[in-house]
């Protein structure tokens, strides 16, 4: 089966200028495990579009690098 990559608006926005390369706080606390590190940059990003907009990632980020938006379909 052919798979296509479709663009989606994702709720978790990471400010890469603030994201610490050695920190995994957001990744560790996400209940749905949707965050990951970009292996090239060491910055966190939303890898899977499965956000519950519950906010632990934002609250536990030590540098305030994360902003969670309400998913577009609910906004």
């Amino acid at each position: 089966m052919a798979l296509i990559n479709q663009r989606v608006d994702v709720p978790v926005i990471v400010d890469e200028s603030k994201c610490l390369e050695k920190c995994t706080a957001c990744i560790e606390v996400c209940p749905l495990d949707v965050l990951a590190k970009n292996p090239d940059t060491g910055k966190a990003y939303m890898k899977y579009d499965e956000c519950w907009f519950c906010l632990p990632c934002e609250k536990e980020c030590p540098t305030g690098a994360i902003t969670v938006q309400i998913p577009f379909l609910l906004r």
Partner: protein, 571 residues
């Protein structure tokens, strides 16, 4: 792929699957009961922020506090609210042991609201008694529990998802699953297993169409319902769905429990009250449904008549606890409680005993019908049990499991079963270009909406049932590209099992009961002559789902259910 998978073996005395409210308490209580026992929590997320209360809770809803109410009053209230279908001995435990929980939580630093004289500041939300105790600083509840789990030296394995309970000689002897990050196959031997995996919150599809826009934490996909079923345990009253009055689109609680005691009102579009009690019940949901279909909807939680300080107090609680992102949801739409009502809608269906009554059958000791297998929290069949009930039954499960394992030894799992389960788990990874789990799940849950959302119609549910049975084949088409996607695929298996149970149980109980939760168009009346019983189901030896009536144990608190009917309509 499956042949290359790394296998990890683990052993523990008491295995707890799910590290939310009930699971963390089960671990703590098991360790307190026997500090020599090895206790392991298996959690597919991270216990620091997992389960229904990942972001804390703004209050407890079933607090029976001496001087304010009694376990007898509480049991009576829940018996009437659940139309008489209760195992009172189990409900009574929540009333009897809840105060211990509150005191112990306080000793750990959880703060409950008190009046200036230092008395618990209980609020009335239920029809008769005061059982709602606010926790305006409840946002750290889960981190406090996590600290206590560590302090009690219970072991924790995060990011491992259980898929099946291991059973041998009719006894629960462990569990299997996989690491959702590295994909390892995990086999855990245990002397007792406690299931605490929460509700099936991903059964119906939210009206928004967003798979994870659920009321419950979407990780709670009915894992424990499915695992208990396949272990041979009985499940109970699955037709008593969870359906909640929620903020439209956002799908979080509008939160009359917080705002109601401060003066907020659930009203129709004309601003009139149509229910006289905001406590969540199927009967209340039926009134909401009628109102929405009467031309007098939409329904809203109204606060515009309150003064600014009161609204600010409500906001300070709601913006910090449980679902704090609701603040930005309202802001994004330019809504403010001073000028706008909160538009409410009827949620999609789920299974949850914490709110309604659908769960894995447990007795007053948190035992399921399989020896060595316990259940607690939202998935255990103690009606209207909420968070205090999850703590109480977590405690009961932990303590009774410690009792049970004395002089008990490990049993070796059946190697054939392990091989078959390994093949089942890893099948999607063998076809990475198979149909994505998102599409398979979307269609399944859309079918749940089409055929099971009340009002229930037998002909529709028959078609739904055929679809869910046939969906076994559809599941074989799913593909996963990594262990994370594999986790979601296996969750779709759980959801399918729950959908089939929901259809069969709803077809079996040929009456209407619990308001909207089981409102059958074909059988619109409650029928106590024939259906004053639990409807239980289980898997037979040959793998078939059977349903049967389970009698209701004689009440320990006298209630005349023919005379005392739960009715919250304003007439």
């Amino acid at each position: 792929m499956s042949t290359q998978v790394n296998t990890q073996w683990m052993r523990t005395d008491v295995l707890i699957i799910g590290g939310g409210t009930a699971g963390t308490m089960a671990a703590i209580k098991a360790r307190q009961a026997n500090p020599e026992a090895d206790v392991l929590i298996l959690e597919k997320a991270n216990i620091r922020r997992s389960g229904a209360i990942a972001m804390g809770m703004d209050g407890v809803n079933t607090a029976v506090i001496p001087g304010h109410s009694t376990p007898e009053q509480y049991t009576r209230e829940v018996t009437i609210a659940n139309d008489g279908i209760v195992n009172q001995a189990a409900v009574y435990q929540t009333g009897k042991l809840g105060f211990d929980v509150i005191q112990e939580l306080e000793s750990w630093g959880v703060k409950f609201q008190k009046d200036p004289q230092g008395n618990y500041d209980l609020k009335q939300v239920h029809r008769v008694g005061k059982y709602v105790l606010p926790m305006p600083e409840g946002k750290d509840l889960k981190t406090i529990l996590t600290r206590q789990v560590k302090r009690h030296k219970a072991r924790v394995t995060n990011r491992v998802m259980a898929t099946r309970v291991l059973v041998r000689n009719g006894r629960a002897i462990g569990a299997v699953g996989f690491d959702v990050r590295n994909g390892d196959f995990i086999v855990i031997q245990a002397k007792a297993v406690i299931l605490c995996t929460g509700a099936c919150g991903r059964l119906g599809l939210p009206a928004s169409g967003y798979l994870y826009g659920t009321y419950e934490n979407p990780t709670n996909a009915g894992d424990g319902y499915s695992m208990a079923y396949h272990a041979g345990a009985e499940l109970s009253n699955i037709e008593c769905f969870q359906i909640n009055p929620l903020i439209k689109d956002y799908n979080g609680p509008a939160c009359a429990y917080v705002a109601g005691p401060l003066g907020a009102q659930t009203v129709n579009a004309e601003g009139y009250r149509f229910i006289n009690c905001d406590y969540w019940s199927g009967q209340m949901m039926l009134e909401v449904w009628k109102e929405l279909n009467s031309g007098k909807g939409p329904v809203q939680l109204k606060m515009t008549h309150l003064d600014n300080d009161t609204i600010a107090e409500i906001e300070s609680v709601l913006w910090a606890n449980e679902r704090p992102s609701r603040e930005r949801f309202h802001a994004g739409r330019g809504e403010n409680y001073r000028t706008h009502g909160v538009e409410m809608n009827i949620s999609e269906i789920g299974l949850c005993s914490g709110h309604s009554a659908s769960g894995v059958w447990v007795n007053e000791k948190a035992e399921t019908t399989v020896p060595g297998l316990y259940a607690a929290g939202d998935m255990a069949s103690v009606p209207h049990n909420y968070m205090i009930g999850a703590f109480v039954f977590g405690r009961l499960a932990g303590e009774n499991a410690i009792d049970y394992i004395q002089d008990l030894d490990y049993l070796e799992p059946d190697p054939d079963f392990l091989e078959a389960e390994k093949a089942r788990i890893y099948a999607p990874l063998n076809q990475p270009n198979g149909i994505p789990h998102t599409q398979v799940e979307y269609k399944l849950r859309r079918l749940v909406n089409d055929y099971l959302q009340p009002p229930k119609v037998s002909h529709k549910m028959e078609i739904g049932l055929q679809n869910f049975v046939r969906y076994q084949e559809t599941l074989q088409l799913m593909g996963a590209r990594d262990p994370h996607e594999l986790m979601r695929c296996l969750e779709v298996h759980f959801i399918r099992d729950c959908a089939e149970m929901a259809a069969r149980a709803s077809l079996y109980r040929r009456e209407s009961r619990w308001g909207l939760y089981h409102y059958c168009v074909d059988y619109p009346e409650k029928n106590n002559q024939e259906w004053f019983c639990h409807v239980n189901l289980k898997k037979t030896e040959v793998g078939e789902m059977v349903l049967f009536k389970r009698p209701i144990d004689p009440y320990i608190i006298d209630v005349d259910v023919n005379r005392e009917v739960y009715d919250v309509a304003v007439r």
